[in-house]
Point group: C2
Chain length 359, copies 2
């Protein structure tokens, strides 16, 4: 069994590391000569939009998955005719477009911030009027880690926002005055088995995930999140890991976005859960029985962004596990992470504090 | 940092999988074109006694370790002059020779079965007389998984034993009527930090490890084992994982053999301990702070020997984790293992029973 992974970033790398014990082989497709996955498996060099390379990948593997979302879905639909592609291209296509994504949420009765499509300055004026202020203007496609976003505090910001982003299709969303950000990660196998991890509570800065703690125990929110996740699973006859990020406002979940893949806010599952999100993704797409998603103790995950702390400093913290991705440091680039596991939330928070200090 | 691993078997493969998160790269040396390590990292093809290849390996990496013990120590001492080689060649050399190993144990006041060197038929007659019957005649070198052994029940077996093994240096050992077999795995870093895993209780058949359970809780034996382990650490100024296998007789440990490397009876640590033996070996030889060796719940490990069970059957057992090594099935060959983790010894034993039934 050989699995092709489109994208050889850290997610693909961790997928391969967790999949090798099943006796699976991997082949990555990535344009970068020193992509993180390339250190742990063979890599086919080519762009995600290179039809010839995508075809070559499809011809050389039994099954394709991905670690990036900016893959042209039309090209994917072509190769998916001959080689199984999971999660389903439709789910990937939906997640690539914030408007399609929020429209899906609305159709599935998953609460979202108020939103409106914006394709012209006039649209933006109307959207601000209907959705209200403050709000965020976002590119519909190719936004990640806070890129392609403009926050509007008053009507005076409309022209600047349009000038900054107006060359591409946009969506205007109400700003949610949230008390917390959480994410739910679940997995559904090709055989229909479903497991859901406990919620993670996430802290972003400048649109980039800085750290997460898990499990974030709140029985009501956990139940809501699982219900929403299952609606998305059903819609796509989904297979693989699926992540939904939510805002929490007044004890209710408001969906921000979904990712049809393993997710940064689930890295804690490597040491902190009975089965990691990476292993369960591989199990799910291979149609194997899923592993328990139960948390083992209390975990905190901290991203290394831009610069790498000394490994010694991190590992001298009790319960700390280090994950470097083999990437060159660069501002705002995720180049590694650390997970601390502890037997109580207080011990976890203490360890987490030490990691943040070591950065 | 690039680590060379002599031997690309399953142990080397699991070392690499656990070392990648530190941003380490690996290069294996192995004569086999389809060695398990070769699926997860680059491999230099050559024999363990090929001086040119050993030199090439040494020149291309920063540090060398090994997953096999049958490496000529003289060649190793040469390359160790220029490239750090851990655990120390002296420890490797001692473990290669059952007589040197047992002589070391005796010198360190670690109890052993009665033993005597045998280099002639006359020696064997004397040894049987002094050590007693029943006993086991073993080759001093290159024995593993029960190979190179002959059990003597009476003096009438002497000639047959000599005929079977007499062409090489031998050791005759008293047969220990043990109540249990246990192993202790500990780790010492280049900075002198030491951690010890809880004991595993092991079941062998035909000299091959079939299954282990861990932790095997017995405070008295644990303390004895740790004391003995530390004596060996001190003797070699040791760095890396060290395993000692013991017989338990009348509540006391009797050392059977040591392995200066990660060990089959420690595979449970991947899912069953806070830090796996593989990760701690890498931490130790890199001089990084060691990870906790505490057990998480109760684990059982079952080897897949000769034939591989269906992955589905294994993973449908609650708490089961599957590890295939990418090796072709062959009689008496270890081609994979499974670890079950559970919250109680009873639940573990139940799961273990299911795995054994699935074989």
């Amino acid at each position: 069994m050989k699995i092709g992974i489109i994208g050889a970033g850290q997610l693909g790398r961790m997928l391969a590391l967790s999949g090798y014990p099943f006796g699976v082989e991997f082949l990555f497709l990535d344009p970068s000569p020193d992509a993180p996955g390339g250190h742990v498996g063979p890599i086919l060099h080519g762009g995600f939009d290179d039809a010839a390379k995508l075809n070559e990948l499809a011809a050389r593997v039994d099954l394709i998955t991905f670690d990036v979302e900016n893959v042209p879905v039309d090209a994917i639909r072509e190769i998916a005719k001959t080689t199984p592609f999971l999660p389903q291209p439709d789910a990937l296509g939906t997640s690539q477009d914030r408007l399609a994504e929020k429209t899906l949420f609305r159709a599935l009765k998953i609460p979202t911030p108020a939103f409106q499509a914006v394709d012209s300055l006039a649209d933006l004026v109307t959207a601000v009027d209907r959705v209200g202020l403050p709000g965020i203007l976002k590119t519909r496609r190719l936004g990640y880690d806070g890129r392609g976003q403009f926050r509007l505090r008053s009507a005076r910001d409309i022209e600047a926002a349009w000038a900054a982003l107006g060359s591409v299709p946009l969506i205007y969303e109400a700003f949610v005055d949230f008390s917390r950000e959480v994410s739910v990660i679940g997995v559904r196998s090709t055989r229909g088995e479903i497991r859901v991890y406990p919620l993670a509570a996430n802290t972003h800065e400048d649109g980039i995930l800085r750290h997460s703690i898990a499990p974030y125990r709140n029985a009501g929110l956990q139940k809501q999140a699982e219900t929403y996740l299952k609606r998305v699973f059903r819609r796509f006859d989904y297979a693989g890991i699926l992540t939904i990020e939510f805002f929490v406002r007044q004890g209710r979940l408001i969906a921000n976005e979904m990712a049809p893949r393993v997710h940064n806010s689930g890295h804690w599952t490597i040491e902190g859960a009975a089965t990691s999100q990476f292993e369960n993704h591989i199990r799910a797409i291979l149609g194997l029985p899923l592993g328990s998603t139960e948390a083992i103790g209390h975990s905190g995950m901290v991203n290394f962004i831009g610069t790498m702390p000394a490994v010694e400093a991190v590992l001298s913290i009790t319960g700390a596990h280090f994950h470097g991705y083999g990437k060159a440091p660069r501002p705002n680039r995720k180049i590694g992470h650390c997970t601390v596991t502890a037997s109580s939330p207080a011990a976890r928070d203490k360890a987490l504090g030490k990691v943040l200090k070591a950065l």
